[in-house]
């Protein structure tokens, strides 16, 4: 158990009973509270709507399971790779300000027993989890991000994949009016990503619908996005409108653009080098020194089994 604590991403929801889970506002309140008794007293039931009372990003006590503090709300929402809005990471936040993420529907289809189109409200009824995950971008920077959402396997269980289903394909909304970047002819829009079914069913694989206990901000892929913490960030597709189960490996955007650089798997791997950028080290946003990049972004104990017997140099 001691050993596990070091390596496994323990969702905060598994430590704290869900009804006692603190909203972010309560976390901030908690900063000055020392005794356990008063701590419990502060655990009021979560209100339906949590108006941010403090400026987001003023700090929190959240850390990942390795003890590294979460990045601030401001950092997480002001530095985003979201080419549908802009190739400039800082331009995404202002450009996405008026993005309409409601109403929103997600089609779950393909090789499933129960195809269905879900509204975002339907999806928010799935068992909610809170996860503090590292996000490692292929550009060699990283953040620690407190997501809320649901495990993708919960949704797939409802859909009941057929035995022939081997992969899960995800598609982003195609709407050049809202996504000016989709007018660029240099990309095979819409953004598409994919996972092997066992990767998609893994308990770490998350569909995020919130950040810091509030709704998912537009620059981060509102209203819902994939989060696969052991893979490079571009695998975690944003603003999903379609989840389709397939028998063959689905095409993905970056793999289509430059297959020798962006493999289908794209697991974080400091030993398999990207032909252009070194993946040995990374800069954690908010830090000045580089850190060594961890195999599978530090989730190896949980996910290495998925790739047993595979040559990760070939399947990069």
């Amino acid at each position: 158990m001691e050993n596990k604590l070091k390596h496994v991403a323990i969702p905060s929801s598994e430590i704290t009973p869900k009804d006692l889970y603190l909203s972010r506002r309560d976390w901030l309140k908690m900063a000055g509270i020392v005794s356990a008794a008063s701590l419990l007293a502060a655990c009021a039931p979560r209100p339906a709507v949590v108006p941010p009372t403090l400026a987001p990003g003023t700090g929190s006590d959240l850390t990942d399971e390795l003890g590294d503090p979460a990045n601030t709300f401001e950092q997480i929402t002001s530095y985003n790779n979201y080419y549908e809005f802009s190739v400039d990471k800082q331009a995404v936040n202002p450009l996405s300000a008026n993005f309409r993420s409601t109403p929103w529907a997600v089609e779950v289809s393909g090789l499933v027993q129960n195809p269905k189109t879900y509204t975002i409200e339907d999806l928010l009824k799935l068992e909610r989890v809170d996860r503090v995950y590292r996000l490692r971008c292929v550009e060699a920077w990283s953040m620690v991000i407190p997501w809320t959402g649901f495990e993708l396997n919960k949704l797939l269980a409802e859909a009941e994949p057929m035995t022939s289903a081997k992969y899960v394909a995800f598609t982003t909304l195609l709407d050049p009016e809202q996504f000016p970047g989709q007018n660029s002819p240099f990309y095979p829009w819409p953004y598409a990503e994919g996972l092997r079914l066992d990767e998609a069913m893994h308990r770490l694989t998350l569909i995020a619908t919130g950040l810091y206990g509030e709704g998912l901000p537009n620059p981060n892929g509102a209203p819902l996005r994939l989060v696969v913490p052991w893979k490079y960030g571009f695998k975690s597709i944003k603003a999903i409108v379609k989840i389709e189960l397939t028998e063959t490996q689905p095409p993905t955007l970056w793999n289509t653009i430059a297959p020798e650089e962006y493999g289908f798997y794209s697991n974080v791997n400091p030993n398999v080098d990207h032909p252009r950028w070194s993946q040995r080290t990374e800069r954690r946003i908010g830090e000045l020194d580089r850190r060594d990049t961890l195999m599978f972004n530090g989730y190896g104990e949980e996910v290495a089994g998925l790739y047993e017997g595979m040559d990760l140099r070939v399947n990069y």
Partner: protein, 218 residues
Amino acid sequence: MKKEWLRVFVHMLGVLPLSLILFDALTGRLSVNPIQDIEQRLGRAALYFLVASLSVTPVYTLTGWRSVLPRRRALGLYAFLYASLHFITFAAIDYGFDIQEIGRLIVEKPFILLGLTTGLLLLPLAVTSFDYFIRTMGRKWKSLHRLVYAAGVTVIIHYAWAKKGDFFNLRGDILKPLLWGALILVLLVLRIPAVRRGVSRVRQRIIGNGLIRRFAEK
């Protein structure tokens, strides 16, 4: 004194990128990844001044405006200054003088090797930019300074390869490198003697020799 305004203007342009970076740094306007932000902005500034120095002769060819010619040296030296700051930021701040890692990166990553190549092409040009060398090297000086054309090619590939996409298949984030590359190509083509003579002749027929000069210098 009358001709000084262009010199002053070039130096104002020259310190502008650095001033903007310092201003943004002091007022907290850099991105949340400030080292990379500074590194990339310095690199882009180097590109801008390299293109500006490469455009001096074509501007003269197209307009007959002689006063731009003496400004080429300052533009080239600003390109070298920003290229140097770009490299220092990469080596010292980004990689903390980790010589071993920097060496590995240069060997392994063609785009970093091309950036270094561009810097090394500019180095002898900066060193020999003084009047003394222009006087003493004679013809050789001119040949040596043609290295800047090669730098114009390597810098674009360096820039394009630093971005996500596939420059040679026109896929991904390649729009800006493509536009800057096209501009450099035009600037190089305008130097081909036959092209240059042709453009010069057309220009003289349309606007004469001294019109722009009279307009620009009153």
